[in-house]
């Protein structure tokens, strides 16, 4: 029997997703499990796989279109069924919707939603020229995230060309051949990706609505570095300083569970386990995969998990549940030589730890000047959820874990 394939809820509570590319075409025979399309959410691209075998009878949505979750995107035919079955199914789907609409004439929203055809999106109309739509489809690009430069934001050919060329390549293309007039600055505009929009929206919201405060601490690293060298000496896969830090954060959260909380308008969210979000930089932007229940995992488990998550994050292959949620975040820029910095909280979490580089510097120990290896960490805290003394208590627990690293191992 012909079946309607519908846009899945790829991310929790998402209302829309972009069908970024069809990987199979109309008329293709597909087996259960075959990838039919790629669906782009705000943070990742996921595969849309066939649940049963059949023939792709009709694609109802163009590549690049943003589609409501649950809306039909294609018709899958059983072997032997013909195009007529596609029509029959689509008509039946329309007919099923119509009677539901009839009794609720007063509710314009419901009527219009029911009247929406399979292929069209009840949301905002995507303005794009026919040529732009075709070029985007041929290049497997999503139109939904593109900024249109035509009238009323219409996406036109030049927008597709700008988006498909690298930002570096776009600069000379946008620069004009005529002399650059004195005093003017040339620039190229690269349309935002979904990911960039999400980062912009969430961080602007966080920084402008959460009352951040910041606490810094210097951690002595000699013992941790010695321990790490000892562990790595015999290991095939090396444990990084960052792995120790994530584990130390988990240990500190276990010791001071009042800091493992999130702020919501109605209630304080007390997390039951330490789900540590680790900021990973990718070519397209920042993403924070999560090490679940890090307080119950060994250092080597955490290390392996972070390596896997980071690699897949950079390949754009994370599933939404792998980067959504989390109770606490760690952002480490030490490998770039950053001494110290303050990070922006990722709501509804209430804290994020910004980790700087381990550096040799003068330290005073028992009235004597010595050379020590020091790592400066700065905790950003949501004052609505965590007060200063509690934050200081948590930071002290973290510092103890770093400076007495054997406690991390147990």
């Amino acid at each position: 029997m012909a079946t309607l394939l519908r846009m899945p809820e790829v991310a929790a509570n998402s209302t829309h997703a972009t069908l970024s590319a069809w990987t199979r075409q109309e008329g293709d025979t597909v087996a259960a499990g075959d990838c039919l399309a790629e669906i782009e959410t705000d943070k990742a691209v996921v595969e849309f796989n066939a649940e049963s075998a059949g023939v792709l009878g009709r694609l109802l949505v163009q590549a690049g279109q943003e589609v409501e979750v649950g809306a039909p995107i294609a018709v899958l035919l059983a072997q032997g069924e013909a195009a007529a079955d596609v029509e029959a199914l689509l008509q039946a789907a329309g007919a099923a919707a119509a009677p539901m609409a009839a009794p609720v004439q007063q509710s314009a929203a419901v009527v219009s939603a029911a009247a929406t055809t399979a292929a069209s999106d009840a949301g905002e109309r995507l303005r794009a020229s026919p040529l732009a739509r075709r070029l985007a489809a041929q290049r497997g690009m999503a139109l939904a995230g593109l900024a249109g430069s035509g009238p009323n934001g219409r996406i036109v050919k030049i927008d597709i060309e700008r988006a498909s060329s690298q930002p570096a390549a776009a600069v000379p293309a946008a620069a004009v051949s005529a002399p650059a007039p004195a005093g003017s600055v040339g620039y190229a505009e690269v349309p935002h990706s979904n990911m960039r929009r999400t980062i912009a929206k969430r961080l602007a919201e966080s920084k402008s609505t959460i009352p951040h405060f910041y606490l810094s601490v210097d951690c002595r690293m000699e013992r941790l570095l010695a321990l790490r060298a000892e562990i790595n000496a015999g290991a095939s896969r090396k444990i990084s300083v960052n792995d120790f830090i994530v584990r130390a954060v988990a240990v500190a959260l276990r010791e001071v569970p009042q800091a493992n909380v999130g702020w919501t308008d109605s209630a304080m969210r007390q997390y039951q386990q330490a789900d540590i979000a680790v900021a990973v930089s990718t070519d397209t932007g920042l993403i924070t995969p999560i090490v679940r229940a890090a307080d119950g995992k060994t250092l080597s488990q955490i290390s392996a998990e972070i390596a896997d998550l980071a690699a897949r994050a950079r390949a754009g292959q994370l599933r939404p549940e792998e980067y959504q949620g989390g109770s606490f975040s760690v952002s480490n820029l030490g490998m770039y030589g950053v001494g110290e910095f303050a990070a922006i909280i990722n709501p509804p979490q209430a804290a994020i730890l910004a980790v700087g580089a381990s550096r040799q510097q003068p330290v005073v120990e028992g009235g004597e000047l010595k050379v020590g290896t020091v790592m400066r960490c700065t905790l950003s805290v949501d004052h609505r959820a965590i007060d200063g003394a509690l934050a200081a208590q948590w930071l002290a627990a973290f510092q103890r874990a770093i400076e007495s690293p054997l406690s991390i191992l147990v």
């Binding site: 026919p130 040529l131 430069s149 002399p179």
Partner: protein
């Protein structure tokens, strides 16, 4: 000395300048325009419009001459050149008044005189009486246009050596007219003067007439001109021009093909061999504005190298077309106002030649498309297979379209035949809206019209033409 400060000051009141001024006024700018001769510029007073009036007279003449084939008995018509010219001047005068009215209606202050830049934001205007006044403006748009190029062998005397200007107001019909240059201007005058009875020869350096058009279009026009009795010589360079009694004796060297010289005699020579930009005596030397080959160098937003100074239209380079100037005027002013219009895409500027038959095109021709690396799909449909064209007795010519095979982008469209200049806008809209062949095929074209040939040409490009 009076001083006034404007948001925008336009120098030159042609189709680039006066349109820029109107758009600026619409956007709320305090706008001034300086014109030293006539509002409307060459286009309206000495170009596009008065030539169309003359060519209309030629059309009427041609139609009456052929009346018998439509079953109408009419006496042999007589061309009254003086009356044709008078009508042409009246048409130009009417439109000139119209522009004056438009300036007033939009609150654009018009100054008559010669404008010169005097450093940042300062322009002096010298009137015919020699009185000067100083104007200040935040933005200055140069729209001074262009004029006919003179040939060293043929210094213009206005009597036996003409430019378009003299050709529009002939005191009498020359017996033998030789036209140097087979671009749009040369070919239009060739059509007109042949229709009213002159012996006409056209000489062109390029390998074909209308060298910017598609090769097949040039070939069709050349065949039609020859059929009307116009001599056409291509690939010839003017070497020498001497006076032989009351006539000109021209020696032309043949280039490419058989080497040799060609001797032609004429009573009047019309020089239509390109134009030069009006860049002299504008005070540009006091600015950073750069001039190359008589044209002002600008970027995609019509900015010159001098901040606050812009250039549009003919003075800023080819294509030398009024509608290009107007479009640049609007775009330039919108940029100044902080809007974000798209840069002018030269591939979307239509070009029309009002000869008999007419020529209209937009975008790349077939050779250009191939040279640009496109894999192309080309479709052609002759008016001889179009019902309306047969009924009208207008079967000469065809429509031709060039698509990118991969994307279905309409790269160019080329037409030759009656009234094709009124039809090309359909393809221009299609290009601007970025329709593909699918949308053009899905468009319903009214029957019977010559425009159906446009649809058929699109279908033909994909092997789907219905009537051929």
């Amino acid at each position: 000395m009076a001083q006034e400060t404007f948001d925008l000051l336009v120098i030159g009141g042609g189709p680039g300048g006066y349109v820029a001024a109107i758009r600026a006024a619409q956007l709320g700018m305090k706008t001034a325009l300086v014109e030293k001769a006539q509002l409307g510029g060459v286009c309206l007073n000495w170009g596009c419009i008065p030539t169309k009036a003359l060519l209309r007279s030629a059309d009427v003449l041609r139609l009456v001459r052929g009346a018998a084939q439509f079953g109408v008995k009419a006496a042999e018509p007589q061309a009254d050149l003086a009356a044709m010219v008078a009508r042409s001047r009246a048409v130009a005068a009417q439109l000139n008044k119209g522009v004056t009215h438009l300036m007033k209606k939009n609150g654009v202050k018009v100054f008559t005189g010669h404008a010169r830049l005097q450093g940042a934001g300062v322009v002096s205007v010298t009137g015919a009486d020699g009185a000067a006044q100083v104007l200040r403006a935040k933005h200055i748009v140069l729209a001074t246009g262009a004029r006919a190029r003179q040939l060293p062998q043929l210094p213009g005397d206005g009597k036996t050596v003409w430019t378009y200007r003299e050709a529009l107001t002939p005191p009498a019909l020359p017996k033998r007219l030789l036209i140097v240059g087979a671009g749009a201007i040369g070919i239009e005058f060739a059509s007109f003067y042949r229709a009213v009875g002159a012996e006409v020869a056209v000489v062109e350096m390029a390998p074909r007439i209308l060298p910017l058009e598609d090769e097949e279009i040039s070939a069709q026009v050349a065949a039609s001109l020859k059929q009307d009795g116009i001599q056409v010589h291509t690939q010839v360079a003017l070497e020498q021009a001497t006076r032989a009694g009351d006539a000109w004796q021209l020696t032309l060297r043949q280039q490419g093909g058989p080497q040799g010289t060609l001797q032609l005699q004429a009573d009047v020579v019309l020089v239509a061999a390109g134009i030069v930009g009006n860049v002299e005596d504008l005070g540009l030397d006091k600015t950073r504005v750069q001039v190359e080959k008589t044209h002002i160098v600008t970027d995609a937003q019509c900015r010159t190298a001098e901040p606050g100074v812009y250039a549009i239209g003919d003075v800023a380079g080819p294509p030398w077309l009024a509608h290009k100037a107007s479009h640049e005027g609007v775009m330039c002013v919108e940029h100044i106002a902080g809007l974000a219009p798209h840069a002018l895409d030269p591939r979307r500027v239509p070009a029309c030649t009002y000869s008999h038959p007419q020529v209209a095109s937009v975008g790349l021709n077939e050779a250009q498309a191939r040279a640009a690396g496109h894999k192309v799909k080309v479709g052609k449909f002759p008016f001889g297979a179009n019902g309306k064209a047969i009924a009208m007795g207008a079967t000469t010519g065809f429509a031709k379209v060039v698509f990118d095979a991969g994307s279905g982008e309409l790269l160019g469209a080329h037409m030759v035949g009656d009234e094709v200049t009124e039809m090309i806008q359909g393809f221009a809209i299609a290009q601007t809206l970025e329709t593909t062949e699918a949308d053009l095929m899905a468009t319903i074209i009214p029957h019977p019209t010559m425009s159906e040939s446009m649809h058929e040409a699109v279908l033909a490009a994909y092997g789907r033409a219905l009537h051929i």
